[in-house]
Amino acid sequence: MNYPPPYHTETGEARLFAAIDAIRQATLLVPSDGGLLVAFTPFLLDRERRVLRGHVARRNPQADLFDGREVEVIFHGPHAYISPQLNGNDDVPTWNYVNVHVTGRAVRVEGEAKTWQFLCDMIRAMEKGNTAAYLASQERKLRKLLNGIVALEVTVDRLRGRFKLGRNDPEPLQERTFQALRAETPPSLRAWLDTLAP
């Protein structure tokens, strides 16, 4: 059995890393005695060390479980319902989407200095323009946040892309379904999505 089919699978690391950088917000799945715990939190990719850097609220039950156990991090990109109307009504409806799925070991980041560094790096990554003045003026307030969060790192051990973009379709249809997906893509992701155009 071959699932997902190769035309729905992206294995190029550069493309998968670019998708992670664009999407950032992820669904973090951590196994616990009570089943998989689900949280929603953004991650920064450190390409050199091949780790994802993230954080959760300290009172999140996941926060006590970053002990090297294997976790899943799923980056949900855009998705769109693909109507048969795009293909002269001679097809079945489907859904197209772009997702990246990372499996790796989660380790808690110890020490205020490293957690502070993470927080500053995340703000720099998300804010366009100069954040130095903001970080300097708000440092006291931001440092108070450190009491409420736990930083973690996830090693990128397995990396899979589910790029369901109709790549097995004839070219004119690929273009139409891509535009349908693009219309359902948040503005901040459009420049990245265009790198995946047919």
Binding site: R59, N89, Y97, K141, L142, P186
Partner: protein, 206 residues
């Protein structure tokens, strides 16, 4: 309860409200565990109207998760809009955060056997997701239908836990919460308009 997670002001528990939101979001991330390994699929799911909340969907028969439709518990996460909230998005001085409107449903999942039931499900899904403007309709008699039915496994989840994870700056004052919601709208896909209307209709903000 102090220290509970997720905090009460970010959680919604009304099944009626949440099933309506699931009906808008439609695409689920279906998560299961088998022998310590988790499987994740991306599938549209349909809200079935009955006495108890039931979600239905189908998987490619070749998907390894399709072998796990044996009554075990699974989680279905419906992702709504999400956006980075910059300090610039508030009216007052606030710290940056990420907001989102997601729903997590869980319960035992079983296979729906039989071609008739599968065919009826596909037709219900096509009619629901295509919307009023769709001229296309799935044809029972189309010979390709038989091939398709063999290639899928239909399933239902009897939902016994349902929580809306609505992080919408509800803990801020009304002006800030409204300003952040406006920023989320600007940063979201066109489809999410219906979710924002739901947030406003259900008066989720202060």
């Amino acid at each position: 309860m102090p220290g509970s997670y997720p905090p009460a002001h970010h959680s919604e528990h009304s099944p009626e409200k949440l099933l309506h939101l699931i009906g808008i979001l439609r695409l689920a991330t279906l998560i299961s565990v088998h022998d310590g390994e988790s499987s994740v699929s991306f599938v549209p799911m349909l809200v079935e109207h009955g006495e108890a909340p039931v979600l239905t969907g189908h998987l490619d028969a070749a998907n390894p998760q399709a072998a796990l439709l044996d009554g075990r518990r699974m989680q279905a996460v419906f992702h709504g809009p999400q956006a980075y909230i910059s300090p610039d998005d508030y009216l007052s001085r606030q710290l940056p955060t990420w907001n989102y409107a997601h729903v997590v449903a869980s319960g035992p999942v079983e296979e729906i056997p039989g071609d008739d039931a599968k065919r009826a499900l596909l037709i219900r899904m096509s009619e629901t997701f295509g919307g009023a403007s769709q001229v296309f309709s799935l044809d029972y008699a189309d010979p390709r239908m038989a091939g398709m039915l063999g290639g899928i496994r239909a399933f239902c989840m009897r939902v016994d836990r349902l929580v809306g994870r609505l992080k919408l700056s509800q803990d801020k004052n009304r002006d800030d919460a409204q300003s952040v919601l406006a920023a989320m709208k600007r940063k979201s896909a066109a489809r999410e308009t219906a979710v924002f209307r739901w947030i406003e209709d259900e008066e989720m903000l202060p």
